[in-house]
């Protein structure tokens, strides 16, 4: 039996796809900003001299990095309500993505911090800077510059991973694809198109992040 491809029936669903893309971009943007912020905080805690703090953050990082995102998402969306925490689909999706990216970026940023030459920290201390000041003005900028490519890859992985948020009915791109194929019965065409759109999003995201990284960390120095 020969199968005849029909992509034309997808045109009617353009608004659905656009909505899905916009939601995927929104989820990614919000969770990138919050996730990286969490990662910076986590990395600071992980490298701090306060032992219990470093241990707790270490446990968080390992727990998240060794369990699937889908299970984290289900735990947050289906599990947390029994503790009285009820989240909307998109809130659960954002929370899961932030928690996930936070763990990975903690580990990535920590590697950048560990690569800071000791002399720079001592130089900062000799200028009378406090610990947090040294972290903010001496360590963080060059560290971020060094690990930016790794962080970029991780952010792209989180964006691609957001496709499973369709399973809690967050209406992003995969959800749109599921919806359309349930209407036009053309699953192959729909998923093919959605996959191509994800690929375009991934390429665009990588490009934007390298631009942002070039701007912010061009000289490897953070600006006050």
């Amino acid at each position: 039996m020969a199968y005849s491809f029909d992509f034309s029936s997808l045109l009617d669903y353009t608004p659905v796809l656009v909505d899905g893309i916009v939601t995927t971009i929104g989820l990614t943007a919000v969770s990138t900003v919050l996730g990286v912020a969490l990662g910076i905080g986590g990395a600071a805690a992980r490298t701090s001299t306060v032992k219990p703090l470093a241990v707790v953050v270490g446990a968080y990082v390992e727990l998240i990095r060794n369990t699937p995102f889908l299970v984290q998402l289900f735990f947050i969306f289906f599990g947390l309500p029994s503790l009285g925490i009820r989240l909307a689909e998109w809130q659960a999706a954002v929370l899961a993505m932030v928690v996930n990216l936070g763990a990975y970026s903690t580990e990535i940023i920590r590697a950048g911090i560990d690569a800071t030459p000791k002399g720079q920290i001592e130089a900062g201390a000799s200028l009378g800077m406090t610990g947090p000041q040294i972290f903010r003005y001496v360590v963080l900028g060059p560290a971020m510059g060094k690990i930016w490519p790794a962080l970029t890859s991780q952010i792209v992985i989180v964006m691609l991973g957001s496709s499973v948020c369709s399973q809690i009915a967050a209406e992003e791109l995969s959800f749109a694809a599921n919806f359309i194929q349930s209407r036009n019965f053309r699953p192959f065409e729909v998923y093919f198109l959605a996959t191509a759109l994800y690929l375009a999003l991934a390429v665009a995201l990588r490009w934007i992040l390298s631009l942002v990284g070039g701007r912010m960390f061009a000289k490897g120095v953070s600006r006050a």
Binding site: E62, L63, T67, P68, L70, F74, G79, S82, P187
Partner: protein, 216 residues
């Protein structure tokens, strides 16, 4: 109403975890073989092969695993292969694993000094002989820690196959939740089972890396 004990839940999850482990092994082994072929194409002296391998890797690293699984699930019937959740999951994860492993191993091959290629070429070795006797043995040493590290991603990737209806531990968790109405407990246990599978792999990847750095 039927009552479920903790042991009822846990034992059923553990039974389902067998399929998570089996699928991980299949994907990792067959993905490793396919990844090796892909690597050979990626670093081969034949430009069209290189481009094709690169394209394959870019596409699989730039699209969600879920979409890859859906496409495999709906594309296999188009070329006359009957799909079950099993075949789609195994084929999809294999392709996914192959793309990532090929890219990881390419980095290891490129870490072998250029002089080794030139020296072996000057001994009149062809590409196959160079790879077999000179490059791969050296690349293999540094490839072990990141390969073990990536196996964690394969195990976690199997969770996504629950969405196309493959009954592994995540799917079992959903089914048990629907019967027991205890999502907090059930998904918590599911998470712990994954952790028990993945954490030893993560630890050994780290240990292998440390050993390698000391040896150098």
């Amino acid at each position: 109403m039927l009552e479920f004990t903790l042991w009822d839940i846990l034992s059923n999850l553990l039974l389902a975890a067998r399929w998570t482990v089996l699928l991980s092994l299949i994907a990792f082994v067959s993905g490793g073989v396919a990844g090796l072929l892909l690597l050979l194409a990626r670093v081969s002296p034949v430009p069209p092969l290189r481009v094709a391998a690169r394209l394959f890797i870019e596409v699989f690293q730039g699209t969600p695993l879920l979409m890859q699984l859906f496409i495999v699930f709906f594309a296999l019937p188009l070329i006359g292969i009957e799909t079950t959740a099993w075949t789609a999951a195994a084929v999809g994860l294999t392709l996914f694993t192959a793309a990532y492993l090929a890219e990881i191993w390419r980095g290891c091959v490129e870490a072998v000094p250029k002089g080794q290629w030139e020296a072996s070429a000057s001994l009149a070795m062809n590409f196959g002989e160079q790879m077999r006797h000179v490059i791969l043995p050296q690349a293999l040493r540094i490839a072990v820690p990141p390969t073990v590290g990536f196996s964690v991603q394969v195990v976690k990737g199997t969770a996504v196959t629950s969405i196309i209806g493959f009954v592994e531990v995540t799917k079992a968790g959903t089914m048990i939740t629907n019967a027991t109405f205890q999502p907090f407990l059930v998904y918590g246990l599911v998470g712990l089972i994954y952790f028990a599978l993945c954490y030893p792999l993560s630890l050994s990847a780290k240990a292998l890396e440390r050993k390698l750095n000391v040896a150098r």
